[in-house]
Symmetry: D2
Subunit: 342 residues, 4 copies
């Protein structure tokens, strides 16, 4: 099909990841992660993040985030998160399943973001035994609506977590996009800002499959390997999950891919920013544009063959992956223009 | 490293699977399984198995078996299985985790096999509420010790399952090897023999990652898609899990790969069958040889660089994958001979 | 201590329940519910509810509601409930724990009540696999804020449940109070209005411990005995849980106790209804009064030794059990009056 | 019915426990355990055990043991226990349910007992990630077959637990009987012998309902209150669970009741010890006799109206509670004699 921007999961495998899989496919390798590629990939993360973090490779984001949260919670604990968090809206109860019952305490979010005040309010609202004890705060970076927490915002959230004895988890399924937007290093965007555990997404970044779970606090990683194994997240031929990471990190393409997606979002905004009646629902800070537009405009786009998810109140989401074709972005922009002015 | 036979997970991706991934990597595709490759793969299984089965693709065998059993059980049910079953010995409690507590009722096994009598004995041993109600029987085909149930044996187990109201699940992580040994069709080896649910292993068969769960009874597949999603087993870029299956099935290489592994096991046996003091611990009927040998012989093999898992009582496991090099098998045979005669 | 109205759990065992325990304590009885008292209690419910329902006895309301919901859900399902539902606010994640992950889908509630429209809105909001499939609606009767659904309201909710293929569960921890308010029979208040499963509370009704779970649809009760056993809710000396029910039902004291609590709530309202600046936060329809009052008034009450839970916005909850002393209710009324006029 | 000895759960509430409930039923009391009776009961345990242990009250033994083990395990851990352990044979998968998957590693038991050697063997058998990591050892004292570990045996097991980094849990559903047999203090029988967590059974000891969970290591009790609440084991009118303990402990009847049951078992043995063809299957060291007898003898007993559980190989279990009538024990002895000599 013609390229679509309904999801950055529509993209395939980027050349660097592909090349790594090809190289990894030479000969025998020890299974279950005790192979050279996996060791190199883990070391690659340690180098990139400038710290001796613990690194685990799992199959997808559902598992990465749910397992990480389960490692930070007992079943009677709760997780403080934005009401728009992916783990709340799109994981079919996976966090509750992996943790055997940890409750997600959702708080209203502005532009998809949690705030220190909202965190404090819910964490301090109750302290009796009938209320699941808050154990962890999770933020998505970039958020599900395409905004990016500033480093100051992350630091402020981290500070309130420290104050309240909560751990800080970052769902970084598009972590690379955030680093590009912030113009900072991965270390600055994560542990230096107070993040305890980061789920770094590989799939949306250009890989076939696979996410990395990084524990900056070693104690929190205790027995995470057992946890992942029991939950069906230990690959037997691990090298095919880990080798792509080696190349993604070594070549810097993790960042290049992200920057390309971000640029395409800006490119679309550049093409439609002056239009009357349509616009961005949220600040465009990563690789997505949530287009606010009247239903006839959306209908016209559908008629031209564009696919997109819609949201209450008239929004349409467009997401740009590593492979987004600028010409195709321009075509989308032109079609939006025609529809809006039509 | 030089090719090793410690596990058939040491092998890489076979050419057909690789080719499929390459083709699948062209352009955009809808995510989460609503793409052409995934539809083709599911249809491919229906064609191969000559029936309109329900087909799901998950990441690995831990999840395939555990999710399938969870779909057949409530938490207060039990699963009847051989004490040597992989789900008992090597899954770190995954079946109990996915099912939230279904107990594995192990029975002694001869040559890795369950028998109708043993199943009936445990199923009828208790009927009070303090005993988790048996709901399903699982058999591994080929077994964990490299033997293969005859079709008559499977049918007899299936008959006792029907009699007792139990479902029959088959762990087919090496299902292709069993088909080759039995010289029968996949349909004959599964639903025609009374199997309700089959986990067909792709990884050991030559793929990078991925197993297929086949429900021959549609009712049992009800909402399995939700179950897999919640448990972190729904791939966003599903095409890379499903495309290899398309080629594996269409080309028949699923069977060719299995036959090659089986032949290598026989090749090794041919090379060492006459030796005094060493021999096969179990009938060699699939792609593995469990070598019974005195510790000095095993030590000599280790000294020559061979890797293998050992078992109580002096056994060493060798497994042959699609890529096993006959010359390397011969080298192993020669080293065993030298050690045994040494 | 002087009688307090902070909770109807502060009350003891009513004479009829006590008498039943005393009688049940004569001699030996078969354990785990296969005794005469338990059979009589189950039959008593069938008589009272004029139907051959399935009846189970568990220890407390946490378990009754959580187990009932777990019986109506798979882990990837969701439960539609009011944001004020006890299972949401005060069970420390028990429903998620017993069900291994079923998500509670909360909807805003007016006077503690769900509406057909709100149920339909959430049930129809999504139908994709990333959203846990709604399976059951739960309503609390009387609600957590002391209001009572009319029979028409229950029927309307039941109708939308039938329309959408959802089961209807009623948390009746104070079910007797609702029957008294509605002036209807237990059958009319439950299955005749479309309720599939009712948790009938014994503890707040005057027993030491124990709730009954009633399934009006036999199919839904399938294997619930196993479920309760596994979850630690099967009493070995069951007669002491069931015998009190026999007397509560046979004597009609279940209703008399409830009526007394309701009357005390009205008594308090009669004493304070004319006061300026204070009043009921919600219609007083059962055995509780949520007093809206300025903080100085609440402070004055505390100073006089009254205990109560407080709510955001200045509310104080008072609940009246079977043993509420009218003179003590009057004393509370007088103290509120003095404080309000003070 | 005439008194039966099929189970010590057939007995009612002993006078001291009854008296306590009656006293506790006077007036109002704060709910959920923040009442005087509950504080006194917890202090009573601390006094009896001569240590500042943490004490929790739950409804039954299923929950007490399962919750305690869940507190000592993560889901990917395992519990080492005798194959005859009650948690293995008669809890319908409750330990796996409460822990969300911790596997019970059963080892063959002689006279119902674990040994240090067996524990070490299973704990050291594997150390790879596919094998659930042993975390705790559980022993039942007295055992399920009516034998009692000597203090030396408990100490030896405790020593191997310390050596291997395992916690030691004691299922003491009949703990009082063990203390009587050993002629030692509760402290000597538990923490002084190295037990970390003890579940002290109240129900079989003469109460209506209720078990105490004692943590001698405070760290292990961390957040156990939340765990119990979420799992439906927090009583609202807690005083009725705790008050009986106050009297049981203060009066010493916990021990007197146990001694009576033990004496009745010896009384039965005294009456039948000389008979040919029948005898005890296991040393009679607590309140049960497992009678080995030919089927015609058992049939004759059934014909005379005796109820009992039978075991493979021809055994019949008789258990004596606090209320066992010596004359009735003698009648049983006489009937066994008649049947054996018949």
């Amino acid at each position: 099909m013609d390229q679509q921007f309904a999801s950055d999961n529509y993209a395939g495998i980027c050349p660097e990841a592909w090349q790594a899989m090809q190289e990894a496919n030479a000969g025998s390798a020890v299974s279950y992660g005790d192979d050279d590629w996996t060791h190199r990939a883990a070391d690659g993360f340690r180098t990139l993040f400038e710290t001796e973090c613990e690194v685990f490779f799992v199959f997808n984001g559902t598992a990465a985030n749910s397992l990480a949260l389960a490692a930070l919670c007992q079943s009677y604990h709760s997780v403080i998160c934005a009401e728009t968090a992916h783990i709340v809206t799109d994981e079919c109860g996976a966090p509750e399943f992996f943790s055997n019952g940890s409750k997600l305490m959702t708080v209203p979010a502005h532009d998809g973001k949690l705030t220190p005040g909202a965190i404090r309010a819910v964490a301090r609202s109750r302290s009796d035994i009938h209320f699941p004890k808050p154990s962890v705060v999770t933020i998505t970076q970039p958020t599900e609506v395409g905004t990016v927490y500033t480093l100051d915002e992350v630091r402020a959230i981290s500070a309130v977590c420290r104050e309240l004895g909560l751990k800080l988890h970052m769902d970084g399924s598009r972590f690379g996009n955030a680093c590009d937007t912030l113009g900072c290093s991965p270390a600055e965007a994560s542990w230096k800002a107070g993040v305890d555990v980061l789920c770094f997404g590989g799939t949306k970044n250009g890989m076939a499959v696979g996410e990395a779970v990084l524990f900056f606090d070693h104690a929190l990683a205790f027995e995470f390997d057992y946890r992942a194994k029991q939950a069906g997240q230990l690959a037997s031929k691990m090298r095919f999950l880990s080798a792509p990471w080696v190349k993604m990190l070594e070549t810097g393409v993790w960042r290049k891919n992200a920057a390309h997606g971000n640029a395409c979002a800006q490119r679309l905004m550049g093409a439609i920013g002056d239009l009357p009646g349509v616009g961005a629902m949220f600040p465009v800070e990563a690789n997505s544009v949530f287009l606010r537009a009247p239903e006839p405009v959306l209908e016209a786009l559908r008629d031209k063959g564009w696919r997109f998810y819609t949201f209450i109140g008239g929004g349409a989401r467009f997401m740009f992956a590593w492979d987004a074709d600028p010409a195709r972005v321009d075509a989308l922009g032109a079609d939006i223009r025609a529809a809006a002015l039509g």
